[in-house]
């Protein structure tokens, strides 16, 4: 066995391939030292083997942690996952000694809630499942394991509640997971993109780090995908409304949270339509709003030499770069950059007559309302949606904006998240009355 393994890992310096013997027998062990917890190796293998209190082959048979490996083709795979491979009397066993470096008891950072649980999922699968299981003490919790990525062999866990889950969703999820072709899987977002289809405009799966959201979703019959090495989980299927729902909405005062939900929808509408509407109103239909507003826009624009859409592009370019810069810069400089950019550039651009003061307001509204969306992957998707809408606005004004929004609504109504309608008002339906499209003619 050792020969074979050393040829497989010819260039790996950190491979430990040993042959040790005691009075009774000779065993061969192989593991990658950097992946393994050496103390575990010595506790479970080296020490009992040397002490010889019990015959070592008996230990191997009785201790269920040692597992028999039949297929030599699996050897590399096993070793690469931090297992120790033992060869005893012609039989091959494996033992999990993986040492995974991970963030310790992480706190929520992406999706924070003031009064909600502060603990986030862990980057280690086992820890994450621990967190979820302890919050969801139910025997119905089903867990399936899958591997995705031809190179990375990333482990995935699929969690669902047996009683509530929709079997159609489950089978479609399994099918989609199987059909994924990817070499390396590094982040949950990558997996989401693979499941979603490459050119999808809006996410149909939620990415979250909050255990409370996950538990809620499990209880409502959703399927959760956890990934080794990522502290984010995928929740599927998801509707558009769930993306607008923050976990806080269940924890805080009823009326205020209802208002906040409404505010989020308005914010989303604003962030999508404002740039397009600005172009439409300024260049096509200034009679749309009050005469007072028309005159003040006309006044503040009188110094601007470029057509409205160039102005919009300048400002949007600026704000997008600011957001991108504050993301890329180290944390401590980040806030300075935003302040400098936001305050000084905006002020100067307006004074230089490059953009109108109304446009500054439009840009800030667009940027701020964008971040009101509680789920990050939706927030980013929405950040893009405003651009396609600008094009019809340039050519058709307010008509173009309306038609563009209509097309967007059409696109959304045709989206399905694992067979479930993505955007549909009044979700639940009385079971006895039936639902439309329930029956398919085969």
């Amino acid at each position: 066995m050792l020969n074979r393994i050393s040829t497989l890992f010819a260039d790996a310096k950190d491979l430990n391939a040993l042959r040790i013997e005691n009075n009774e027998m000779i065993i061969e062990i192989a593991y990658i030292s950097s992946l393994c917890d050496e103390s575990k190796v010595s506790d479970f293998i080296l020490v009992p083997f040397q002490k010889e209190q019990q015959p070592f082959d008996l230990i191997l048979e009785r201790n269920p942690q040692f597992q028999l490996v039949h297929d030599p083709a699996m050897w590399t795979h096993i070793i690469l996952r931090g297992f120790v491979l033992l060869s005893v009397k012609g039989k091959i066993y494996s033992l999990d000694t993986a040492r995974i470096i991970r963030n310790e008891t992480p706190l929520t950072q992406v999706e924070t809630a003031i009064l909600g649980p502060q603990l986030a999922l862990s980057e280690d699968l086992v820890d994450s499942i621990n967190i979820i299981r302890s919050r969801y003490p139910s025997p119905d919790l089903g867990i399936e394991e899958k591997t995705v990525g031809s190179m990375s062999q990333t482990r995935l866990m699929m969690l669902y509640d047996n009683r509530h889950v929709d079997p159609n969703v489950l089978s479609e999820a399994r099918l989609k997971l199987q059909s994924i072709r990817i070499d390396f899987l590094n982040a949950t977002g990558q997996l989401e993109r693979k499941l979603n289809g490459k050119r999808s405009l809006l996410p149909t799966m939620m990415i979250t780090e909050r255990p409370d959201r996950i538990v809620n979703c499990l209880q409502r019959g959703k399927v959760i995908l956890l990934m080794q090495g990522s502290m984010f989980a995928i929740v599927l299927p998801a509707t558009f409304y769930e993306f607008m729902h923050a976990v806080d909405d269940d924890y805080d005062s009823f009326w205020m949270t209802r208002m906040l939900i409404l505010l989020r929808y308005i914010a989303v509408i604003l962030t999508i339509t404002m740039p397009a509407l600005y172009i439409a109103v300024v260049s096509y239909n200034p009679e749309l709003f009050r005469v007072q507003l028309a005159f003040s826009i006309a006044g503040s624009r009188s110094a601007v030499p470029y057509p409205s859409f160039v102005e919009v592009f300048i400002m949007l370019f600026m704000i997008e770069s600011l957001i991108e810069a504050s993301l890329r810069l180290p944390k401590y400089i980040g806030s300075t950059a935003t302040t400098v950019g936001g305050l000084i550039l905006g002020q100067a651009a307006q004074q230089a007559g490059l953009v109108s003061s109304i446009m500054i307001i439009v840009t800030s509204v667009v940027a701020i309302s964008n971040f009101v969306v509680p789920v990050n992957n939706m927030s980013i998707a929405i950040r893009f949606v405003k651009y396609p809408l600008i094009i019809p606005a340039i050519f058709f004004g307010i008509t173009g904006v309306t038609v563009g929004i209509f097309a967007l609504v059409c696109y959304m109504t045709h989206l399905r998240s694992f067979g479930k309608p993505y955007i549909r008002i009044f979700g639940p339906i009385k079971a006895h009355a039936g639902d439309i499209g329930q029956v398919r003619e085969e």
Partner: protein
Amino acid sequence: MNRYFYYNVVLGTMLNLMLFIPHILVKYRYTGAISSMAVAVVIGTVLSYTFTYVIQTFPGKGMPEILYLFLPRAVVIPTLLFMAAMWFIASSIALIGYAVLINRFFNPDTSAMIVLALLCLVCIYAATRSSLSVMFMMEMGLIINTPLILFILMKSVRSENMSWDAIRTVANYWQQMPQLAPVAAASYLFTGYINFAIYNRLTPPNFRLRYRWIVPVFGTVFMLISFFVPIGFHGTETVVHYIYLWSVTSDALIMNYGFIERVIFVFLILYLNLTLIYTTSGWHQAMEFVKSCFPANKPDVDQRKVPLSNWIITSVFGVLTLLHLYFFNEKESFQFASGWLILRLFVESITVIGLFILCVRWRRASS
């Protein structure tokens, strides 16, 4: 579930404004519009009750499937094609009317042709979606737009600029005999139910339609509003001068404290949405009728992958619509629409009654 049926009804009723119906009715205001409307209420109610009886007998089956049950293919295919033409014409009239309106109020410098091309493009895209998606889209659109439209209508009814004397004057002409053209026009308000000729494919097996009284009640109220309010605003004489009667009427309203001051813009945007939804739904149904002519076609109400045939059929619709605008002017379009309304009344009555007879026979035979 019931609500999806009523979405169709409400949409059809509200869209009458785009199909010149108030204008046709107003033209006959001294010569029988009132009595024609009364007749239309009766006709519309009877037809809708009859039709809903039929579709409840065959839940999950669209009209093509029902026809194939009873009639030979040679009879069914021409019928289906004819039906497709009816649906297509209705929605295209509305779309063309709207392109002209946009050209008049929003984009005076862009030609109506280009505007129509844009509208056609988006309707082609929307109509190729599956029946279920079209239904969801209709739901979304109506939920967003209807409250605002009702608000504007309420505002118009309560406006102090409305002359009730003018309305009473016209109402005094109720003794005139009804005439065909206004009857055909007014009965259109009750015709939303006919969309279930295709959408009945979506109904679940235990489908029971309730609250059918909504059809006549909503239709009548809306008919009265869409006929009398413009008279109240434009007087008994001037009212007949406007073809796009309601857009002119909405221009007579202002929202003093509204974000947008002139109601006409809100009104036009809302009705643009409705027209797009209506056209999408109409083209989608016409497309389904055409597709049903092919023996290989299996209706799938929630088809995720849009087949190429959908794109081809709806693109043909789009091109035909553009050609119509190219060859006909406003006046001819209006005459075409009024002619079509009359034809529609007959075709619809024959279809519904025919289906009813088939259905009764089938029930007898099976019991």
